[in-house]
Structure formats: structure tokens, C-alpha cells
Amino acid sequence: MGNIKINTENYESFYLDYLEGNLGENDTIELFAFLSDHPEFQVEDELLVLENEDISLGQDFKNLLKSDLASQEISLNTIDFFLIAQKEGQLNDQQLGALDAFLIENPQFKKDQKMYALSTLNADTSIVYADKKNLKQRAAIVLWPYYSAMAAACAVLFFWFMPATPSGLSPDSVAKDLNPRVKVVPQTQVAEGTQVIEQNDFSAKFANDTEQDNNSPRKDKLKLEIPQNKKLNVANNDTPNHKNDKPVKLKHIDNKKLENISIAIASNNKENNEVQAITAMNDNNSLAMKDVARPVTRKISDIIKSDVKMKKGTDAKGKREGVFLKVGNFEFYRNKKVKQ
């Protein structure tokens, strides 16, 4: 550090350099001279040098520490060592016996033995660190398992409720909105005398009526829109052109127009199970099924204050088999197997 004089303002930097072994010889002499003049600035050696410290113990004591205790004899010079070793649990049974014998011969050391026994420090357990809460850390929240679970749940729900009709209209919505007398049945099951609307002859589609009154049934607000040249009593078509088959598209149903007529919409697709399901869902009593998740559905019913049932089995006619879910006025059907 050159010719800078060490004083109370700058001695710390000299001291640190000395402790790190970077202080030159002349500066070291200067530092020690300063510390001798100002002993209050001297840091205790034991705080500074913890390693390789030469502890000034008696030579006998040092030898005892380094040597095997078993080879040592208890004497007036070594009794302290053995008493401490006893307190530290370092003596074996043989050495303990020898120590007891020595203390019987030299009872004046029993007091020292007692003092060493008392020198044990006991922690005051009433002293506690009160602010543990602030020391604790929150674990990082890994979100990807939750996202994965949500995605899986959405996928399952989508699969469950996925509309099965080609038009995008699910059977339950059709069943809900159609006039009760309007039945969508396979063409082969059309009863004699029933007015039939061929699927190919008109295009109709359900649409929400934005002005509908919430207190009125939705079906009263729907209108059946039929082209002028295609009346309801259309001619039977015994040989439907399947190439031109199009899905049923009901746009509006005017309930008043349908009051006095019985209508059947003949489906060209005889295997359209979802359409068949409509009649099944509208007549629950005909199903020979059992509630497969009664505790769950009952719990959900209590929560949403609406009737919830999940049934599994075969309907009364034995033609349909699958899972039926009813939530309030809505019913869903998932076909599992159709018996021919």
C-alpha cells in the first residue's frame, strides 16, 4: 500500500489485506505497530484463525489427546483428562472401573467429578424462533397436470355429447323441440294413414328464436317452414333416391299448423340409431334400465336442484342398448350396441 500511514480511518483495509496474506512486509510491521498502539482494534485471534491453530495445552494433555486412552494410566497429572473423558462418554468399562478405583483412593477429586458433571449446557427450550411462517417457502405449483386433466375431461365430454346426426342436430334437441306428435321414425315403421314428410322433399332447420319468452315453452315459438310447392301431405315415395339423401333440416315449426295433423318424418337411414333414440328418450317408462351411478346423480340432483339420472341397459323393446343421461328436461343417449 505504499507510504500510506495507517490510522483509525484506514486500518481495516490493511487488516483485511493482512488476513488475506496480501500485505507487504513493511506494511505488516506498520500494522502491528498500529495495533499495539490501538489494542481495541485488534480482532481476537481465535475468531480469525480457526484452522491449524496451535493450542497451548500442557504437553501431557496433548499426548493424552493424541494417544490411545487404553494405554494411559490414571494419575494426579491425568485425572482431569479422565474426568472430562468420562463426562464426554469416551471411557470404556475397564477405564471407568479404574477411574472409580482411583477416586476411592483419592476422594478429593470427587468434587471435580461433580463439577464436570454440572458443566453440561442444557438448551432453554422456552427460547423459540417465533417467526417460522416467514421462513417457509411455497412450493412451485406445476400446472401442466391440471391442464392435462382439463383437456382430458373436455375430450371425454366432447365425445360424450358429440352430435351424431349428420346435420349437426343432436337427437335430444330434436326431441325437445318437435311437436309431440311429430315423430322421426324409420321409413319402414311409418304407420298407415300417417302423413309423411319425405326427408328429401323439404329443407327445414331449427333456429333459436331470439325474441322468445323464457316463460313459454320453446316449441310454441318454433315454426315449420315448408316450401309452397311441398305441402305436408306429400306423396309417398316408395323408392327414395338415396344418392340425394340429405339430413333433416327443420327451420321453423309453427305449432298451430301442426295441431290437427299427425306427422311422421320418414328417415331414409334405417340404421340411424340416434334418430331411433328419440322415441326411446321420450318414453322413459319403456326402458328396462337401472341407474348406474345413483349416488353421484343423486348428489348432482341435490346441487343443481334438478332431476339427474344416468341409466344403462336395454330399452323395453330390446332394440336399443346404451347409456341414457337425463338432466332436468334434457336427455342424452349414447348408443353402445344395436340388436338387429
Binding site: 481495541e40 480482532v43 480469525l48 480457526l50 489427546l65 471435580d112 454440572l118 438448551a123 427460547i127
Partner: protein, 161 residues
């Protein structure tokens, strides 16, 4: 070590670290600072420290923090005043536990440290050596010297009484 294990270590060892620091620094606020600093450092390294070794790691960190703190305080010559409860005169207090605590204050820092680790925490000489970066023989010497000093202090008090 997971966050859960770290929090468990806080519950298990923060009191011990606090008492250890308080015995050295004799100042509650400083001891709290040491505890906070210790656990903050351990949290930074928690992924590298196994739960089985966290106690030793905590005491090592706390010991180093105490040494740094004492050095800093000594240099700045601004040691806080001792708590009144810790500065009572030995002649007026004959409770053995109190006398031992007073005797402890007369020991050099390193002797105090090894004795505290030995008596409070039950560490072996080897474990104390690892915490304080000492050889096992050195730990043994410090403990033996500390025991002699404590015994001497007790003996003197008894003579006074």
C-alpha cells in the same frame, strides 16, 4: 430437498439455530437476522442439499454467519449492549444453570461454539469439525479446554458462596 422438506427443516431446526445464534450474539434481533440469513442461504441451495444433511448444513451456515457478524461488529466497534438478563453478576446468582450460562460467556467464541454444538445438539467431534472446519483433534482440545474452564468457573463460584 423439496420445498416441503425445507419447510419441515424450518419447523425442526429454526429454534435450535436461533438459540445457537443467541448464545453467541447475546442480542435477539441479531440472532433473528442470523436465522433468516441462514435459512435464506439454505433455500437458495435447497436443491443441492439433501434433507438428511440439512441440519449440519444449517449449523455450518449459521456458524459462518455468526463469525462474519462478530467480525463485522468488532471492526465497527459497535457491539450492541448485552441483554440485561445476561449481564447479571455471578456473585448474586447461585442457580447452577445460570452460572453455567455465565461461565459460557467467559469462553472464547470457538470453545463456546463447540460446547454448544456438543451439548445442545449432541453432535460428535467429527460433525462439529465439519461444521466449524476444524480437525477432530482440535474439536476435542477445544471441548476439553472449555470443560476445564467451566469447571473452574463453578469451583470459583462455590468458593465465593
Amino acid at each position: 430437498m423439496t420445498a416441503k422438506e425445507y419447510n419441515s427443516a424450518v419447523d425442526d431446526f429454526s429454534d435450535n439455530i436461533f438459540r445457537f445464534a443467541l448464545k453467541h450474539l447475546k442480542n435477539e434481533m441479531s440472532a433473528k437476522d442470523i436465522v433468516q440469513e441462514t435459512f435464506a442461504k439454505v433455500w437458495v441451495k435447497h436443491e443441492d442439499v439433501s434433507f438428511e444433511k440439512v441440519k449440519s448444513y444449517l449449523f455450518t451456515t449459521a456458524y459462518n454467519a455468526i463469525i462474519d457478524f462478530v467480525k463485522k461488529e468488532k471492526r465497527s466497534y459497535d457491539m450492541p449492549a448485552e441483554d440485561a438478563s445476561m449481564s447479571t453478576q455471578p456473585e448474586t446468582n447461585f442457580d447452577v444453570k445460570e452460572i453455567i450460562n455465565e461461565a459460557l460467556e467467559t469462553l472464547p467464541e470457538i470453545q463456546k461454539t463447540v460446547v454448544l454444538l456438543r451439548d445442545y445438539e449432541g453432535y460428535s467431534y467429527e460433525e462439529i469439525g465439519k461444521i466449524c472446519k476444524l480437525k477432530e483433534a482440535q474439536v476435542k482440545v477445544y471441548i476439553f479446554r472449555a470443560r476445564q474452564a467451566l469447571k473452574g468457573y463453578l469451583k470459583n463460584i462455590e468458593l465465593i458462596v
